[in-house]
Symmetry: C2
Subunit: 290 residues, 2 copies
């Protein structure tokens, strides 16, 4: 999806939030903000917002000299999510439809998105998880269950650290798990999940894990590794988690289901759902296939 | 006061709101927004935010070819305020302290600020007026009443159209009114009051009215007319209405009382009051005089 005019003030706000997150030095914060403003003045708005996110965070790492400024935050939310797992596992095992509960939780876990909310708290995460137990899924849940049962090769593209623990609960429902490959980002970007987070979640012992070779907060195929792109095109079902993957893949011709929590009004409108919705959205090509 | 980092995302949002207010053409909106981003990338942040506001709205008028895009909105809020006057006049005349009620209403009328809220509604205005009847004034109200009773030459710098009708109610309390000069903006800028609005409020028949010769949404003395600057320095009491006048005059050495509704968190913090407060703030020089 394109970047809209409404995205611009939000990107500026996010850039400032990020700058403050990674540095306490107002001069560095100002330097970054000015850089982003100059960039936005000339940006190609036909590109999805994660293109700018990528540049913002490259610049931020360059200015601070910190290659992974969100490392602590990622660890914090990984542990937070890990602490919630025993209780949620019980819920899933006792549920009449364990797949549905696992999916709700995995989608609700997408609240752990520092791109949208740099001041995310434990309380907000727990509220989102609890809400997910009763909140309806919007979109094509039945289509997804059918796709799950028919798929021979599933590529599951994770989004954020923390969230990836809840992804594990959904992946555990996708028997036989041999057909699942999990993809994470190639380099640290925001609080997006990398190989380290997949390992923390124990997913490397459960399924094949690859990275996409890229440092975009989404999936920009043109700059992903050959290994990732091959897997992307071999899969007969792709699960793309999170807003960033939706923004970058929504116009790509591939058998994708987008799973995310709609945290931004522009994306919610683009997806045709309400703000805060738990979304299961079939990509256009799958839509055409019925 | 300086422009802060927090002002930047807000200025970008305001620029987009303003662009949409004055034109339905997305290409024009985008052109304006890009122009503002480039400008902000290199702006002097030691200057108060109204400097940027001035440039935004000059650019907006240039691009649209419309010298007064807020003309209709100003007329709308002038009439709205006029409709409220009979009831409020009654309230004031029956009040134990008419000056206090008139001041509360004049300050609450500062809600009519399209720079802060481009989607202002009648409902919000009425809510602010009603709230003002019980909401405490923050700051130096007693100092202001003393200044009112002692002043020989009062310069009252108005802020917005609509609001200026409520300013009239306060000015009517400043007997003898011969000592009052009302100043408005020299040229249309946002929904700020000009000579036309002063005339609509009947203030030109009540007190001397001058304009400041400038198109800034505040008072930038260096670019005001000689007539205004002379009046500014001859007055022994200056009433500066609204956030824009506070932002541009808060560091000026002059006997000023700032009267405004704190609608922005940065200004509220700078003034040491809560968001939404009705503020009566003595300038530093008056503060030193006790």
């Amino acid at each position: 999806m394109h970047t809209t005019l409404d995205c611009i003030p939000c990107i500026v706000r996010q850039a400032l939030e990020s700058a403050r997150f990674v540095s306490k030095d107002p001069a560095l914060q100002e330097q970054l903000l000015r850089h982003i403003l100059a960039l936005l003045a000339h940006m190609d708005m036909t590109l999805p917002p994660p293109y700018v996110g990528q540049i913002i965070h490259r610049e931020l790492r360059r200015i601070t000299g910190d290659v992974d400024p969100y490392l602590e935050a990622k660890a914090h939310f990984n542990h937070l999510a890990q602490g919630r797992l025993p209780f949620i596992r019980q819920l899933i095992s006792k549920a009449p439809d364990p797949l549905l509960v696992a999916a709700r939780i995995a989608i609700a876990g997408n609240i752990i998105d520092f791109g949208v909310d740099g001041a995310l708290t434990e309380v907000k995460v727990d509220a989102a998880l609890e809400e997910a137990l009763t909140q309806p899924l919007e979109g094509q849940w039945e289509g997804l269950t059918r796709a799950f049962s028919e798929a021979k090769r599933i590529l599951y593209i994770a989004d954020n650290a923390g969230e990836i623990l809840f992804d594990r609960l959904l992946i555990e429902q996708l028997h036989p798990m041999e057909r699942v490959t999990l993809a994470v980002r190639g380099w640290p970007i925001l609080n997006d999940a990398t190989r380290e987070d997949a390992a923390f979640a124990g997913l490397d012992r459960l399924v094949q894990v690859i990275d996409n070779g890229s440092d975009a907060p989404g999936t920009i195929l043109a700059e992903c590794s050959l290994e990732f792109v091959r897997e992307f095109h071999r899969a007969d079902l792709i699960i793309a988690k999170g807003q960033g993957n939706f923004e970058t893949l929504s116009d790509v011709t591939a058998p994708i289901f987008f799973l995310f929590k709609a945290k931004c009004p522009v994306i919610a409108a683009h997806a045709g759902v309400g703000l805060g919705a738990l979304v299961v959205l079939r990509s256009k090509v799958l839509g055409k296939m019925g």
